[in-house]
Symmetry: C3
Subunit: 180 residues, 3 copies
């Protein structure tokens, strides 16, 4: 019985990933993601092609924009996005990995927290256990392995602080392009 | 009325991105991209899975090869490719981004110019405002944030010059694989 | 006649890449990959969305896990994976590239060997001619341009040794998630 339940849950994960993510209407996708357990605030958008693993372990605040083909992973711990977070295309946020030194290559997970006004650039990768402080900026293509202080700009593989953001953070994001 | 026009234009962008790009025939894709405003020279190929944003702001010269799953962005300024340019799989060329320090996270754009005989390697990312000089080479996985002189080889995140290309550039590219 | 044969082989490559890889059942995919020439050992899995170029030049040992959206390229030489190799999502392994300095931008290929118990992290790129020694670990987002000694951990673009793996390698991988 538990086995059948598990297979059905995997089937729904497949439907979410392959078919729901291709629906060209944001409100349809959001409704179905919510049904699958995602907690999502007001005026958010999750564009086409995204994958949510364990959506019941993912929390989005208000006015978040999750661009196309993003992977959000809630398998290894809670993945929390604050308000006005901007996640660019093809970003991947992991909460689960393998323990490198483990004799049995076991999984190891840790929660990830993205605070308000963070902007994660195109194709960046965020590793398990990372916290991105309020207003932090991750440059395109960066691989973030350690937590980033508020208002810092990080870049590179692995990501290092390359500057400080000078912004009053006076914006409220809202981005729901048609058919995206 | 303008609103309806806008929605229709977004719908066509969706059709180009999701359906036209999956047509397994180069001549069909090129014809439809041209109809949508792309300027493209002789003997070019744009393989499957590519996305052209604002194709009317993108110009390809002759004998260019744009490999699979490439994203060319014309939203922030003119994106110009010269002749015999080779763009590898999953390359992304942006002309639009956000102003990091802006209080309102506003968009900021700049044109990108790729000169003749440039070779952009697998999964490289080219940022707005960059010019790649004649015969330049971008290594796989590089993130190019600054302009690159002619015949230079750049690599890394961010990309730095690691050598000079020794080539007479005597070739004429033409690559139209069946069903790709 | 040879021309027609070639076109048919390209058509089958397209079917493998676009349709077979989307079949949500591992045993169906494996059977069809085997029919197309792939050599694959016992208890392996190749998850959805993968692309195998020249599958008849690719050899997988036992208990390998090839995650989603991986590209394995056998065009430029034999691509060999040992036993218990773990290839993470979106990894790309090339055996073919272009000769940078060649006057005619000709192709240049070299075989790639991945030994037992290697773990290649998310979105890493392995370049032609590389050998990854037994138990080596490639960090997420790394671009591996040179061979890696056994039990070494490499990271960055280009990848450099950042540590040694402390693991008895006592595991046998087997990962066949439903509908993935």
């Amino acid at each position: 019985m538990a086995k059948i339940k598990f297979i059905i849950s995997r089937f729904f994960a497949y439907i979410l990933r392959r078919w729901v993510s291709c629906t060209p209407f944001n409100f349809v996708r959001l409704r179905l993601y919510r049904l699958s357990g995602l907690t999502v605030g007001r005026k958010c958008s999750i564009l086409m092609g995204c994958e949510l693993r364990y959506p019941h372990k993912i929390i989005l605040g208000d006015h978040c924009v999750v661009n196309r083909d993003v992977l959000l992973d809630g398998r290894g711990g809670l993945l929390t996005l604050g308000n006005n977070v901007d996640v660019a295309q093809e970003v991947v946020i992991w909460t689960l990995g393998h323990d490198i030194h483990d004799d049995f290559h076991r999984d190891i997970g840790a929660p990830v927290t993205i605070e308000d006004f963070v902007w994660i650039g195109h194709r960046a990768i965020i590793m398990p256990g990372v916290t991105l402080g309020r207003g932090a900026v991750v440059a395109a293509g960066a691989v973030v392995t350690k937590s980033v202080p508020a208002m810092s700009i990080v870049a590179g593989v692995p990501a290092k602080v390359i500057g400080q953001r000078q912004s009053a953070l006076s914006y409220t994001k809202f981005h729901r392009p048609w058919f995206e």
